[in-house]
C-alpha cells in the first residue's frame, strides 16, 4: 500500500467513524455548492435562451394598436398581457408596408375569445401559410387545416380533451361555426394554449371584418436598418405602435436579472453560513480528536504531515459535497427554470468544476482555524488529556 492510498483510506475511515457529523457537513457543503451551481446554470442557460430567442425572432418588428398591451412571445419570453381589445385595420398596414417598400414577411394575427362547450377559449386567427413560413419551429401532429378545419394548441387540447378529427363548435358574437380539428400544434410557448383558425373566418365569427390585433414583421435587415425601418413604418401608421422585439426582450432579461439577484443573495447568505458552520463543526471535531492528533505527533508525524491528514479530510468532504452539489444544483436549476421561465435548463457538464471549486473552497476555508490549532497542538498536553 503506498502512502497516498493509505492517506485516502485513513481519511475515509475517519469520516465513516463520525457518520452524523460527516453527513451534516456534506449536506451543508452540497447545499452551498448546489445553490452556486444552480445560479450559474440558470443564468448561463437562460441568458443563452434569451439571446437565442431574440436571434430566432431575427430582425423582427411587431405592429400593435396604440392603446393595446399585448401578449406576445413564446416560452421564456412572456412580454405582457392583453388588457383591452384594440384593433388595427388590416388594409391600413398592408398599404403602409407597400408604401414603405420594406421587404418583410408579414403575418396578421387577430385574437379573441369564442364560446366553446360552456367555456371561453382564446382563439387566434392567422393565415396558416404565413405561419408555416415565419414560424418553422412549430411542431404539428396531424395536418395543417383546410377550409372548415382548425388546429389546437397542445395544452388546450389536453385540457379540453380534444383529439385530431374531433368536431368543435365555436360561438362568437356574430355567428357560430363548426370546425374539424386537423392537427395539434406545439410551439413551446403560449401558443400551446390557443386555438387557431383562418383569419377571415375568425373575423367573420367575431364580426370584426378587416381588423387585426397584431402584425408580425420579419424584416430581413439587421442592426441600425431595423431601427430606421421601424421608424419609417411608424410614420406611415400613426395609429399603431411599431416595436422592435429586441426591445421587448429586455423585459425578460429584467426578470432574469431579478431572479439572478435573488439567487445571488440567497447563495451569498448560504455560503457565509455554510462556511461558518463548517468552521464550527471542524473545530469541534479537532477539539474532540486532540488525543489522536497528539498521538500522531508522538509517533513521529511532523506538524505538516498531521495537518495534511486533516486537510485531506476537509478536501474529501469538499469533493464529495461538490459532486452531490452539482447533481442537486442541476435539479434546482431545472426546477427554477421550469417554474419561473417555463423552459428547461441546459445540462452543462463543466459546471461540476464550479461546484467542486465552491465546495472545496468552503471546506478548506472553514478548516483554516481548526488546521492552525492542529498545527500548534502540543502532543504532551493533548495526550495527558488537557
Amino acid at each position: 500500500m503506498n502512502r497516498r492510498r493509505w492517506l485516502i483510506h485513513l481519511v475515509l475511515r475517519a469520516l465513516a467513524h463520525r457518520k452524523g457529523r460527516t453527513l451534516l457537513l456534506l449536506a451543508v457543503l452540497a447545499m452551498a455548492s448546489s445553490l452556486a451551481t444552480a445560479l450559474g446554470i440558470v443564468s448561463s442557460s437562460m441568458g443563452n435562451r434569451v439571446a437565442e430567442e431574440v436571434r430566432k425572432y431575427g430582425a423582427n418588428l411587431i405592429v400593435i394598436p396604440e392603446s393595446a398591451r399585448l401578449d406576445i412571445g413564446s416560452g421564456g419570453l412572456n412580454f405582457g398581457v392583453v388588457s383591452e381589445p384594440a384593433y388595427l385595420q388590416q388594409s391600413l398596414v398592408e398599404e403602409a408596408l407597400l408604401k414603405s417598400g420594406l421587404k418583410a414577411g408579414v403575418s396578421f394575427h387577430l385574437r379573441g375569445a369564442l364560446h366553446m362547450k360552456d367555456a371561453d377559449v382564446m382563439v387566434e386567427g392567422v393565415n396558416f401559410s404565413d405561419i408555416r413560413r415565419l414560424f418553422p419551429w412549430w411542431q404539428l401532429r396531424g395536418n395543417w387545416p383546410q377550409v372548415g378545419e382548425t388546429v389546437v394548441g397542445n395544452d388546450l387540447a389536453s385540457r379540453m380533451k380534444l383529439k385530431v378529427g374531433d368536431m368543435v363548435e365555436l360561438a362568437g358574437i356574430a355567428n357560430k361555426r363548426e370546425l374539424r380539428i386537423s392537427g395539434i400544434v406545439t410551439s413551446g410557448g403560449e401558443e400551446d394554449a390557443l386555438l387557431f383558425m383562418a383569419l377571415p373566418e375568425l373575423q367573420q365569427t367575431l364580426g370584426l371584418g378587416g381588423l387585426v390585433t397584431l402584425v408580425r414583421l420579419m424584416v430581413t435587415a439587421g442592426g441600425d436598418t431595423l431601427k430606421t425601418s421601424a421608424a419609417a413604418l411608424q410614420m406611415l401608421i400613426p395609429t399603431a405602435k411599431v416595436t422592435e422585439v429586441r426591445q421587448t426582450a429586455r423585459t425578460s432579461e429584467g426578470l432574469l436579472a431579478k431572479v439572478k439577484l435573488l439567487m445571488l443573495m440567497v447563495t451569498a447568505v448560504v455560503l457565509v453560513s455554510a462556511g461558518s458552520s463548517v468552521a464550527g463543526t471542524m473545530s469541534t471535531t479537532v477539539l474532540e480528536r486532540g488525543k489522536e492528533i497528539g498521538l500522531m505527533k508522538a509517533m513521529g508525524g511532523t506538524r505538516w504531515e498531521v495537518m495534511l491528514i486533516f486537510c485531506g479530510e476537509a478536501a474529501m468532504l469538499g469533493v464529495l459535497g461538490g459532486v452531490a452539489g452539482y447533481l442537486f444544483g442541476s435539479v434546482i436549476a431545472q426546477f427554477i427554470t421550469r417554474t419561473v421561465f417555463s423552459a428547461s435548463a441546459d445540462f452543462i457538464p463543466w459546471f461540476i468544476c464550479i461546484s467542486l471549486g465552491v465546495s472545496l473552497f468552503l471546506a478548506l476555508l472553514g478548516s483554516i482555524g481548526p488546521m492552525i490549532s492542529v498545527f500548534r497542538l502540543d502532543p504532551v498536553r493533548s495526550l495527558r488529556g488537557e
Binding site: 500500500m1 503506498n2 502512502r3 493509505w6 492517506l7 483510506h9 485513513l10 475511515r13 475517519a14 465513516a16 467513524h17 488525543k291 489522536e292 497528539g294 498521538l295 500522531m296 505527533k297 508522538a298 509517533m299 513521529g300 508525524g301 511532523t302 506538524r303 505538516w304 504531515e305 502532543p379 504532551v380 495526550l383
Partner: protein, 229 residues
C-alpha cells in the same frame, strides 16, 4: 553494555514557576532496562517526555543516541521520534476507528511507507494473530496494550519508553505484557525506560531510579529477576 544511549547534564524542566525536574544528571547505557519510580508529580513523566523528544528541556544538555535534542527544531524532533523512539502509553491511545493492523500501519506511515504484511507479522509476534481486524473497542485492556507494543516496536526503535504501561491492567495481563516486553527486548535489543509506581513492575528492570519532586533520590541496581508469572 557498550556506550551510553542517554546522557543528561543538568537537565531541568520548569513550567512557569513550578520546577518539574531539578537539574538531573543521568546516564543510561545502551540495552539497559531502566525503571523510573516515584509518586505522581515527582517529575518522572516529565523526564520521559524529555527523553522521548516530546518536550524540550528548560536548560541543561540532553543527548539521546548521539543526537543533541536541544539543537533540533520541531520537525527535527518529530523525525527523531519516528526513527528512534517507540512509546507505550497507560491509556493505550489507539485510534478508535482503525483496526489493530491499521493502528500499527499508522506508525509505519509516519515512519516511511505502510506495509500491511509486516504489520500483521508484528501483531502475530505479540500474540494477536487472531484479532487483526478488530477495532480497539472490541479488544480487552491487555490486548489493546499488546497492539500498543506492536505499534511501538514496528519501526525498530533504539529506545522504548513505557508510561505506566500496566497501570490499567489486572495482574495477569500485567505479567503477560511484561513477559512479552522481555522477550522482544531479547530479540530486538532496544533500551527500555519504564515509568511506574508499581514496585513489582519496576522489579523487571535492570536498574531503578526513584524521583521525588524532580530530584533523583535513590538508585537501586537489581540483580534478581522479577517474579515470573
Amino acid at each position: 553494555m557498550s556506550s551510553a544511549i542517554i546522557e543528561t547534564n543538568g537537565l531541568t524542566r520548569s513550567y512557569g514557576d513550578i520546577c518539574a525536574l531539578k537539574p538531573l544528571d543521568l546516564l543510561v547505557p545502551e540495552g539497559e532496562w531502566l525503571s523510573v519510580m516515584g509518586h505522581s508529580g515527582s517529575g518522572k513523566s516529565t523526564l520521559m517526555n524529555l527523553v522521548g523528544g516530546l518536550d524540550r528541556p528548560t536548560s541543561g544538555t540532553l543527548r539521546v543516541g548521539g543526537e543533541e535534542l536541544l539543537a533540533l527544531n520541531e520537525d527535527g524532533l518529530a523525525r527523531f521520534r519516528r526513527e528512534f523512539v517507540g512509546i507505550i502509553f497507560q491509556q493505550h491511545h489507539l485510534v478508535p476507528y482503525l483496526t489493530a493492523v491499521e493502528n500499527v500501519m499508522m506508525a509505519q506511515y509516519f515512519h516511511s511507507v505502510p506495509d500491511e504484511a509486516e504489520a500483521r507479522h508484528a501483531l502475530e509476534r505479540v500474540g494477536l494473530g487472531h484479532r487483526l481486524k478488530n477495532r480497539p473497542g472490541e479488544l480487552s485492556g491487555g490486548e489493546q496494550q499488546r497492539v500498543c507494543i506492536a505499534r511501538a516496536i514496528i519501526n525498530s526503535p533504539k529506545l522504548l519508553l513505557g508510561d505506566e504501561p500496566t497501570g490499567n491492567l489486572d495482574n495477569k495481563s500485567t505479567v503477560m505484557v511484561m513477559e512479552l516486553l522481555k522477550e522482544l527486548r531479547a530479540e530486538e535489543r532496544f533500551t527500555v525506560i519504564m515509568v511506574t509506581h508499581n514496585q513489582e513492575v519496576a522489579a523487571w528492570g535492570d536498574r531503578t531510579i526513584h524521583l521525588d519532586d524532580g530530584v533523583l533520590v535513590r538508585e537501586d541496581r537489581l540483580k534478581v529477576e522479577g517474579k515470573a508469572g
